[in-house]
Symmetry: C3
Subunit: 264 residues, 3 copies
Amino acid sequence: MLSKRCLSAIPADVRITLLTDFGTRDGYTGAMKGVISSIAPDAIIDDIAHDIDAGDVRAGAWALGAYWHRYPEGTVHIAVVDPGVGSARRALVARLDGRYVVAPDNGLITLALDDASDVAIREIPAPSADAAPTFHGRDVFAPIAAHLAAGTAFDHLGSLINDPLVIVFPTNSHSESGIAGSVIHVDRFGNIVTSIRPDTPANAVIRVADVTIPIGRTYSDAEPGTLIAVTGSRGYLEISLRDGNASRALGMKLGDEVILDTPT
Amino acid sequence: MLSKRCLSAIPADVRITLLTDFGTRDGYTGAMKGVISSIAPDAIIDDIAHDIDAGDVRAGAWALGAYWHRYPEGTVHIAVVDPGVGSARRALVARLDGRYVVAPDNGLITLALDDASDVAIREIPAPSADAAPTFHGRDVFAPIAAHLAAGTAFDHLGSLINDPLVIVFPTNSHSESGIAGSVIHVDRFGNIVTSIRPDTPANAVIRVADVTIPIGRTYSDAEPGTLIAVTGSRGYLEISLRDGNASRALGMKLGDEVILDTPT
Amino acid sequence: MLSKRCLSAIPADVRITLLTDFGTRDGYTGAMKGVISSIAPDAIIDDIAHDIDAGDVRAGAWALGAYWHRYPEGTVHIAVVDPGVGSARRALVARLDGRYVVAPDNGLITLALDDASDVAIREIPAPSADAAPTFHGRDVFAPIAAHLAAGTAFDHLGSLINDPLVIVFPTNSHSESGIAGSVIHVDRFGNIVTSIRPDTPANAVIRVADVTIPIGRTYSDAEPGTLIAVTGSRGYLEISLRDGNASRALGMKLGDEVILDTPT
């Protein structure tokens, strides 16, 4: 009886997630986790990625877009890819559909912002003099996130702003026979993610340079060693090489053109 | 008093472990963790590995064999190396000696199965139409694992099967003077793990191609720069190069022959 | 009412951190985590790094120095970079300012020791016969750490020692016009960390070989593509290349000389 009442009174531990370009071998992320657990001892810290290419804000924004909304409300996401650390660039804490994102104001939150309906963004006040100008991950973002997790109200964390810096991702145009888009991401498997997010007609194909690629439902619809285009898990058309690396095979990279061709 | 009773009524948080070939930089594992924590907010999620070579089911099976039974009963292990995602391949949830393994039916559970005494395996029902055919890690395996962790009974998770797909690992044969086996794994250190799991006679040696290697107890029994064979932490004989990489030095790879030679 | 009293009676879960050179793809760290959670089911396990270069004790010591004291008292840090595993090298559990470090006695704790005021070190008794001589991470360090986390008193864990093995990091000398130091670490970004920890005079510069580098406050004080020296997050002067990799650009490595030049 008593125990039941107790149990129900215990809130689930808040989760804090961590995405950085710090790698792990220098102990930088360890320092962030230590700071967090000193302020919010019960917080569960989920590593997302620490191997974003150094300084690649666009790649960080892409990854953040994959998971921020999959977590329950109340989750605090830290994202630190921050080549401008210590400069005049602002630092943000955003509340997006009930989740929080703590990040530098350099475009990292672009895709999370795109997907959110209920948005509030605050500028984190300038760090105190003893914050290391080279490591706001440890001295600014981790403490803010931990205080949020420990119960500090979002409304107390700085002034509202409405002009966060966003990255302009490529848009598509209409070509003669379909849609012209471009490569917006290449994943670990070499899958080439395009900007095209179609309700794809049944007889459409993908064309890149002089290669024509059929559209299927999943990777293994292709014969081993052949190319296929499928709608990926975030709704974008992506080009895949069965049991291989499409990006290497096609020599394709960010920004390259991709045509969705719909014969009439 | 009260507090004591409360404390004892609080069960330990269930753990869910994650092994994939997804890497981390695309946010795929973050999406899985988000799904898990939305369904089972108190679950502790332990990363095991996300750098299994893309599509290398055998390597995933090897790694899973290292830890599944070290965790306490009730743990839910997710293993996703799944080149056939979205195809007709089945998805499984297995109960092995009180731990659970959620994985595609492609051989990933082979070595865990080998080691388990009490085995029950169920086929996870086909995913709903809104599951992405390219990402069952997020839309099938993570939710099933989270529901298990949150208290759904194993018996409610699908129909029993008794024919999971297993990988045939190489077996040994008797040679003139001992045992002929082969390389079944190469680890991060370049240690060459063989299929030989002997009660090794004191005067035995290992032979590979034209090299003879003494058998010792641990790596540092060898002089720096020299080769030694030891019984590794999973009971298999492995070949090691003190302060170096045996696999590179010997040019050995999966499947290469290894002889345990017992002079009479 | 009741629930409040219950809540306050529930201690924060103890955290155990893990630093190794095991990588993750072999399942070795999974085995350690399984052992920990079997003994201490509520412990939160934070990965710090598993990609320390194989056998690089110095690099492990450097990383450990970044985070051990950022965690709250009671945290148990496991550090295993252990080329001498299974040999006569001792194993240690240290209490440093209220945190614990469990590690082989090979210098891994050097920098943590340097920073601690309140120090006690115990030698972990020799492992039992069934401990794998090649994997004390799983069979010695993980269980000791888990027992500490689960409440075993530090004083019961072996005999006090006062002669831990320490690594001698380079010291600085006075040159004609300033301080002569050397490279003690290169981080993921290619930042070159030096042994110089100065109260730097305003007009000082850094010289390496025939290159003169200005001193600034943070990375982005330099123009893109140019070099700058800043005081890093651990108080050492480090050399950085804006939007690039200083270590590669300068061809500098551990031990190379660096001069802090203070024109008079």
